[in-house]
């Protein structure tokens, strides 16, 4: 069924794994957004990948119109996505947090359907990419040859993820949001503005995926149809790493990144996402709380 690649030397495996790891960190940041939203608001953002392609198209437009490097544009893009996420939660999703799971899900499916097709209308179905000054640069690290774009994107992902960790750990607002996540009614009782905090959280999750989208723009091309694919990828990562666990999302991202890269090398590249789904099925069956997730009663 699959065409098998000819035998390749160990260095190639190593290189492919390293490249998968770097991409995986950006995946991880994207999934982190999903995880934060689920961990606090308890809503599964089925429009996650579509929000990421929104960010990618903004990055594309900024680059083609003003020559703005996506890794710089990342900051305003994250801000725009933050606002989008905040308004989405406060306006549309908030009335749904007490509704059954499947009706929340359908709401977000509707939002995803609208987003992906608006992009199709605005930008057409063809793949579009950016060529930065470092698009073809690479660094040699011993036997490894590292793409400069991927390295920069991965570093940016780590910086943003670290900032998010610090926010939740050290700021008062971050702690208030965590309190909300742990005990919804308790948070209401002590007078926290839960609606505002939820919207903030959704905004933060959207900002994460926005930043990740900008980063991915220097690595891959964008078409509207990758939106749903990345929504699924984000689910796979978050379920693998553990829903609601922030380190889990990063770990899951790296794991999926490497798995996909090696799977693409060993079999055909087009079959690579099969490995990610294989991993998902195994995790769902044998460790449903995810690798780093806490077991819920």
């Amino acid at each position: 069924m699959f065409t098998r690649g000819s035998l390749v030397p160990a260095e190639i495996y190593l290189n492919v794994a390293a490249s998968g790891l770097l991409t995986g960190l950006v995946y991880g940041l994207m999934a982190l957004g999903l995880s934060v939203i689920f961990g606090v608001v308890r809503v599964v953002n089925f429009a996650h990948g579509e929000m990421m392609t929104v960010a990618m198209y903004i990055a594309l437009v900024l680059f083609t119109a003003y020559g703005l490097d996506p890794l710089v544009a990342m900051v305003p893009i994250a801000a725009v996505l933050f606002a989008f996420g905040y308004l989405l939660q406060a306006g549309l999703i908030n009335p749904f947090i007490t509704r059954p799971e499947h009706s929340q899900f359908m709401l977000l499916v509707a939002i995803a359907l609208i987003l992906v097709n608006l992009q199709l209308i605005a930008f057409g179905p063809d793949a579009q990419g950016v060529h930065t000054s470092y698009s073809f640069d690479s660094y040699a690290l011993g036997p490894l040859i590292i793409d400069a774009s991927k390295a920069y994107a991965a570093i940016a992902a780590l910086v943003v993820a670290a900032a998010l960790f610090a926010f939740f750990r050290f700021t008062l607002l971050g702690k208030a949001i965590r309190a909300c996540a742990d005990n919804y009614h308790g948070a209401l009782v002590v007078g926290l503005n839960v609606k505002h905090l939820y919207a903030l959280t959704f905004g933060l999750g959207a900002a994460c995926v926005g930043a990740a989208g900008a980063m991915l723009m220097v690595v891959i091309d964008v078409t509207p149809s990758i939106g749903p694919a990345y929504t699924l990828l984000a689910f796979v990562i978050v379920i693998t790493g553990g829903m609601g666990s922030m380190p889990g999302a990063l770990l899951g991202g790296v794991l999926i990144g490497v798995t996909e890269a090696l799977g693409g090398l060993l079999f055909t590249p087009s079959a690579k996402s099969m490995f990610a789904f294989g991993l998902l099925v195994l995790v769902l069956l044998f460790r449903p709380q995810g690798i780093l997730g806490k077991k819920t009663a």
Partner: protein, 338 residues
């Protein structure tokens, strides 16, 4: 049997059903080929919506991967026809068998390992994606380059091999939709129907009342999968080409659950009402765009998205429950005594 089928349907409802059926039978004699295709699509979505509804609407298990069963059904019957000249009327048994097994595998894994709710939905997507990528590399049915059925100019309808006019497919689909409606009506009034609703409403209470919830959830998945695959058979022979990228795609899974959700999850009329509304509105939209001279892909889907959004926001039970109240058709329980 007839009496059982008609139990609990108010007389005005029966009358309206009869008129509707007569209308559906007569319409193709008066309208254009194009409109017959539109009517065919309404019935197609009503049928798959009805099949999906068994799982979600009756047994409460949210599947977002039903394109899997459409695709498996389509490929099985088409491959048997193209490679061995086997009639789709025989091939459909293979389609149903394969889809039932696929449904049983997914159901077994999910229900045995306690994968529920949104996680279950994602598992169903994952299996549809497996199939999509797998069929891309499945050379027996020509992989990603697409699988084609031989097409000629048919002067005569060949029902046995499903080669013929749109009208033939239309009447076939009409028969299937009516049969599905009657079957679901009877199912809801059977032991399995009661058990499914109980499981949907409260699995713990259902189990405490002696219901083997694993078994009945499995029945729902297997039945829903087999029924959905029949729509796949029709799809294959109507369109004559199959691409894994399209038929197994997540957007297809979503497209086929729109009608029952908009019509009303768990209701018998919901899938038909939803399919009618969606298709009619989408056709209206197409007409408007034609007049305006705009031709952009994606507009229809945005419109679907907005419909879905409005319905989940403002009519969480779908269009049919309030509509049936308006029409005075909402008597709930079969009143056997009087």
């Amino acid at each position: 049997m007839i009496k059982l089928l008609l139990a609990g349907v108010p007389r005005t409802g029966l009358l309206m059903l009869a008129i509707l059926l007569a209308l559906f039978v007569a319409l193709p004699f008066f309208v254009s080929d194009y409109l017959v295709t539109v009517l065919f699509l309404i019935l197609y979505f009503a049928f798959v919506g009805q099949a999906w509804n068994i799982m979600m609407g009756f047994a409460g298990q949210l599947s977002l991967g039903h394109a899997l069963y459409v695709g498996l059904g389509a490929y099985a019957a088409a491959a048997l026809y193209v490679h061995f000249g086997i009639s789709p009327w025989i091939g459909l048994w293979a389609s149903m068998g394969i889809s039932a097994v696929a449904g049983a595998i997914i159901g077994f894994l999910a229900f045995r390992f306690g994968v529920g709710g949104v996680y279950f939905a994602i598992l169903t997507i994952a299996f549809a994606e497996f199939a999509r990528i797998g069929f891309d590399h499945f050379t027996w049915v020509d992989g990603s380059s697409g699988f084609f059925l031989p097409v000629a100019n048919y002067t005569e309808n060949d029902l046995w091999n499903l080669r013929g006019s749109t009208r033939m497919f239309y009447y076939l689909m009409l028969g299937m939709t009516v049969a599905a409606l009657l079957a679901c009506h009877a199912l809801l009034r059977s032991r399995a129907g009661y058990y499914w609703l109980a499981i949907r409403e409260s699995p713990e209470a259902a189990q405490a009342l002696g219901i083997n919830i694993f078994k009945y959830k499995m029945y729902a998945v297997v039945l829903s999968a087999a029924m959905t695959s029949l729509a796949g058979v029709i799809f294959a022979f109507f369109y004559n080409n199959l691409f894994p990228e399209q038929i197994f795609h997540i957007s297809r899974s979503i497209e086929l659950i729109l009608a029952p959700i908009i019509g009303g999850v768990g209701t018998l009329a919901g899938p038909l009402v939803g399919a009618f509304l969606l298709t009619a509105l989408a056709e209206g939209l197409r007409e408007v765009m034609l007049q305006l001279g705009v031709d952009v892909p994606g507009v229809k889907q945005v419109f679907y998205g907005i419909c879905l959004l409005l319905v989940v926001m403002f009519l969480p039970d779908g269009v049919w429950p309030p509509l049936s109240k308006l029409l005075g058709l909402d008597r709930k329980t079969p009143d056997r005594e009087g």
